[in-house]
Amino acid sequence: MFLLGVTTVSPAAAVSDSELKRLIRGEPSDIAKRVSGVSSRRISLPFDYITATGNSDPLEGWKVATSSPTSLGVQAVRELLAISGISIEQVGLTLGDTGTPYQTCPSEAQRIMGEFGVKSAAFDLVGGIGAVPHALAVVSRWSSERLPEYMMYVSTNTPSQQVNYHEDPSSAGLFGDAAVALLFGKSAGDKGRRIKISYAKFSPEDRRRLPVVAQGSVRLNEDDLLSAEQLSNNISAELESLRSFDSKLVGNAVFIAPQLYAAQAAEILNRCGVAGDRIVSGVNDIGFSIGASHGVALAKVWEKISKERPVVLMHCGDGQRGSVVLMAS
């Protein structure tokens, strides 16, 4: 399958670092800046609601939210269809992902497709913080005979609606809302650029547990994050694997690092010879949108992908580390 297009959407409301100080109580946390490089986050809750309540009860947050995971996903799909020039009826399979569902049943993919009013196969392929590279790795291993002409993948998350802004300054600084939609096709015809998944490999890592979103409020515990040494070991191992696949790849590719660790990972990549202008963040101006973050970064570099300039999506931090290489065919 070829990757034919990517779109991403976020709510319009942005919270800068200085605005964040007015929303939280107590001292701001430096985790979002130091680990992830977040300097602004998009949120779907009204500021006055956060100021008044802190969003201590996410159920109340949902009542006043400007977007839901489903509405963001639908918007991303509409934009994807518009740029791809295909109709929703041509999509034979939709895969969904969310870490912040309003409903645990039906699946997010079914809710999104339900908004379009079409009958077609849909289910969720839930990959957590590495959702996009993981979905690419799964699809790259599928045999095309059993697949429809076109299929979509949508990762959509509204973690801002599950942040307790008064009690948890770390999460308040880190999380933002976004949806990403990817279109796959058996062939591109003349309507799109063909992006081939040239390499996809996931392996176990030495760290498994990263409880980010519980039913209730999100909670980010620094103790659950990879240490700088673990992150460095993971990235070094991935670079070694990539060099084995293609000796020139690391010197040419644009890198989308593990997004929860985007800032720390960029420093490690720099030390390994990857210049800063070849590292793209999906979290710096959106916040960490869980599985959608890799897709936010991918949308930024989509037009620049070429045979000479492939894109590497790296993932680690939840028990699996892996890389996917996208290259114009």
Binding site: P58, L59, T98, G99, T100, P101, Y102, Q103, T104, C105, P106, S107, A109, Q110, R111, I112, M113, G114, F116, G117, V118, K119, S120, A121, A122, F123, D124, L125, V126, G127, G128, I129, H134, V138, R141, W142, S143, R146, L147, F202, P204, E205, R208, R209, L210, P211, V212, V213, A214, Q215, G216, I290, D318, G319, Q320
Partner: protein, 327 residues
């Protein structure tokens, strides 16, 4: 060709009978429940005193008092499936899980079960609620034979009673908790050979069956029942037209929604009671675990040459089927 090498189940030991539900005084009685849905008992991870006193009016409290989580049930079912398959947890190369009542959403249920089993493998959720058995098999077939690890563990687990409003006269009668697991291989022959599978959906009707994340299950009961019977009959008919099904020898397993509905289906297809395997009568509707649990509970009764026909439907609305042959 894929094979199922072993299956396992786990169910809580606390059982609620129809007289208990009648005593809740919410406008139902034991006779009505038996006649309408054919369920006599259902199993739950909730303490009966909790149900009696709170009617589970705040489902967020359910997890505080429950005797087990979906992860607990799923892990035990997985251990049982591994034992039956004759392999160790460390032999597993990939885990996929279906769970419609997760207590955490990131990481997914599959990651938690992998952690409990003590294995570092590719682990992710493949989810559609009740038709999970068909979805998982159909999903794995997309990989072909060379792109799968030697052994894949599939789990469907749910504690749906945590999302039941026990002031509702119908919902309390339907749901039970449970998990089922099955070990699949594309390289090693197993007791069940997968001959065929299907999975699809009609998302235009996704609002017909809903579980709110922090609240209750609710459904358009009549529409869902009509859909379930009609769609299951269509699935079985399609299989009968493509495979040499002989209902005096072969076995039918449907979605364990309720026994009355299943009997409408078996009557339509002239499937004798002896060749219809079900567990809903004494366990309740266990969401995606019900159908595979029925098969697992009859594992030792499988006879060489038998076809096992699974037709499952559910939220989404979605549906699927599996045709297997006992080797």
């Amino acid at each position: 060709m894929l094979s199922i090498l072993g299956m396992g189940t786990c169910h809580p030991t606390t059982s609620i009978d129809n007289h208990f539900l009648e005593a809740l005084d919410v406008g139902t009685n034991a006779q009505w429940i038996e006649e309408k849905i054919g369920i006599l008992e259902r199993v739950t991870t909730l303490p009966v005193d909790y149900i009696k006193t709170t009617r589970n009016q705040d489902p967020r409290m359910a997890r505080e008092v429950a005797s087990a989580t979906p992860t607990d049930l799923g892990t035990k079912a997985a251990e049982s499936a591994l034992k039956r398959a004759g392999i160790k947890a460390t032999d597993i190369g990939m885990i996929i899980v279906n769970c419609c009542s997760p207590q955490q959403t990131v990481p997914g249920e599959a990651v938690r079960i992998a952690e409990r089993l003590g294995i570092n493998v590719e682990a992710y959720d493949v989810y559609t609620a009740c038709p999970a058995f068909a979805l998982h098999i159909d999903f794995l077939r997309n990989f072909g034979t060379v792109n799968l690890p030697e052994f894949v563990l599939c789990v469907s687990t749910a504690t749906m009673t945590h999302h039941v409003n026990y002031n509702d006269r119908s919902d309390g009668a339907i749901w039970g908790d449970g998990a089922a697991a099955w070990v699949v291989s594309s390289r090693n022959p197993g007791k069940l050979e997968i001959l065929d599978s299907t999975y699809t959906a009609d998302p235009t009707r996704c609002a017909a069956v809903v579980v709110d994340s922090y609240r209750f299950f609710h459904q358009d009961g009549r529409a869902v029942r009509d859909f379930s019977v009609r769609q299951t009959v269509r699935l079985v008919k399609a299989i009968e037209e493509s495979y040499p099904i002989d209902w005096s020898r072969d076995i039918f397993i449907g979605h364990q929604a309720n026994r009355t509905m299943l009997e409408q289906i078996t009557n339509n297809r002239e499937i004798p009671p002896s060749n219809h395997w079900h567990n809903v009568t004494y366990l309740g509707n266990q969401a995606g675990a019900g159908a595979p649990a029925s098969l697992s509970m009859n594992w030792d009764s499988l006879q060489a040459g038998q076809h096992i026909v699974v037709a499952v439907v559910g939220a989404g609305l979605s549906w699927g089927s599996i045709v297997m042959r006992v080797s």
